[in-house]
């Protein structure tokens, strides 16, 4: 019998919200939770949902809050949700950038200026140009994201551009420089770039392939070694409960409880995606 390594829970530093559920206005070919306009496996969170979690999080000393989906700005309460969050701590929103209208960007700027905490906007793209990006993210996406980014720049918000490794050569020095030049050319004098690996679950299994059986964290990994993983300091709130991390929300066993406090325990690292985090040293945090 093989032993499954466990990740301990050090402290709940990072609380994630699946604020738009799995509902998205696009269908990226690599989406690890297959978000789409019709995927309702996780529903949107309401302002009241988030507020009650913030109250819980306050008692646990949470350090930072992240919002993702689906597409967070499909949630009509997104601005009030951020306003409530920024009273308590820093917030980061992961968006596809397509709904960043001028008024939204101005509101984000106002929220940011009005809080002692940082508000970070992370915009995903998947290529250097329309063709490479839209091959992953869908026809017409590039042009709309460019408008969104230009609205952010006009509002004086400097986003973090997130690119997955599906983008050609982004891990190398040349690819990186090319992306930084692209971000500069969009009006951001201080380009910020984060590269993430692709998780071979969800839609990505059709684009490439799923994990092989051997792609698991080795059983000799100790709890102390496993502490470097983000799941030792994060949890994810969705409409269905509290999950171990932002990646495994389609895995029933990764749902750890209804309340935050009951999820402050160790978790077995038995999934292919855990292997990616382990090998790549991934953190979904910025």
């Amino acid at each position: 019998m093989t032993l499954t390594p466990q990740v301990p829970m050090r402290a709940l530093d990072t609380l994630w919200f699946q604020v738009a559920g799995t509902i998205c206005n696009i269908e990226c070919a690599h989406c690890f939770i297959s978000s789409s306009p019709t995927n309702r496996s996780h529903e949107m969170l309401s302002l009241a949902d988030v507020e009650s979690r913030l109250a819980e999080a306050g008692t646990l000393g949470v350090k930072e809050y992240y919002f993702t989906g689906g597409e967070p700005f499909l949630n009509r309460e997104m601005i009030p949700i951020l306003a409530a969050t920024l009273k308590q701590g820093p917030a980061t929103v992961l968006t596809n950038g397509m709904l960043l209208r001028k008024e939204i960007c101005d509101q984000l700027r106002e929220l940011s200026d009005g809080s002692e905490y940082s508000l970070d906007i992370r915009v995903s793209i998947d290529g250097y140009d329309r063709a490479s990006n839209d091959a992953i993210r869908g026809a017409g996406v590039w042009d709309r994201v460019m408008i969104g980014l230009s609205n952010l720049a006009a509002a004086g918000i400097n986003p973090v551009i997130t690119v997955t490794e599906s983008a050609d050569g982004v891990r190398g020095e040349d690819g990186r420089t090319r992306f930084l030049d692209l971000i500069r050319s969009l009006g951001f004098a201080k380009p910020r770039l984060k590269v993430l690996p692709v998780f071979r679950i969800g839609a990505e299994t059709k684009r490439s392939h799923g994990y092989e059986d051997w792609e698991r964290i080795p059983e000799h990994v100790t709890e102390t070694e496993a502490e470097v993983l983000q799941c030792s300091s994060c949890r994810m709130v969705t409409s269905k409960g509290v999950y171990v991390c932002p990646i495994l929300i389609d895995v029933a066993e990764a749902r750890m409880g209804d309340t935050l406090v009951e999820t402050l325990r160790s978790f077995p690292l038995r999934y292919g995606a855990c292997h990616t985090c382990w090998v790549e040293g991934v953190s979904c945090r910025t």
Binding site: A11, D13, A57, G58, T59, L60, G61, V62, K63, E64, Q88, G89, P90, S112, E116, Y117, S118, L119, D120, G156, N158, R176, K190, R192, S283
Partner: protein, 262 residues
Amino acid sequence: MPDVTRIALIGGIYSNYHALNATLSEIERRGADATYFLGDLGAFGPHPDRIPELLIERGIPGIQGNYEESLSSGATDCHCGYTDPRDNFYAQISYDYTAQHTSDSYKRWMGTLPPSLRLNIGGTRILLSHGSPRKINEFLWRSTSPQVFLSKMCDDYAADVIACTHSGLHWHKELPGNRHVVNVGVIGRPANDGRTNVWYAMLTVGERVGVEFVPIVYDHGALAREMRQQKLPEEFIETIETGWWTTCLEILPAKERSAGKF
């Protein structure tokens, strides 16, 4: 008038011995009951051996930073905690230079430094740490250190005052119950505000706790000249000469990043 104890706290020195000399003179001029350093004696600047030499000669106690932990254990990098390739690229240049120019006896001395120190001043429990009490290379920024998080840290570590450095930017937050978290800043490089001075913190502990950040103007031109002689990267020298950070920028949260030039 109740007794007040004055404690001078010096953050990351980064081999800036010009600033260290100026800081120690200023502390002497103002008067302090005790002075402590909070680690990261090396990095960035020239002639790293001059820092332990000066601290030992002046009998100043202090704690390990990630630099001292790495240098004394023979690690191949500084364990600064960066995640971006450009941040790590420059961090490695700093570490390699510092490791090469730090004598073995000082590396051994660094291994004898404690990772944290506790003081009790008339019942006020003060904890000196490098990054944070729980992690030597944790970056505690003002805009990403909420009150609930800091209060829990004070509870977890049974402290009324937590002092730290590591991030390079100074700030102070007063928490409910006369508790405080202070990032004392660094004297190794300017605070990314377009001014060439550096900062240390003076803690006053009496009935209440007070924190004053003290600017130190020093001969940064001399430091820049020596950095050029040592062939340290022009990017580092630019920071010393202009007060704007040019490296280790990607780790900054949105607010701190927008405050700088780069």
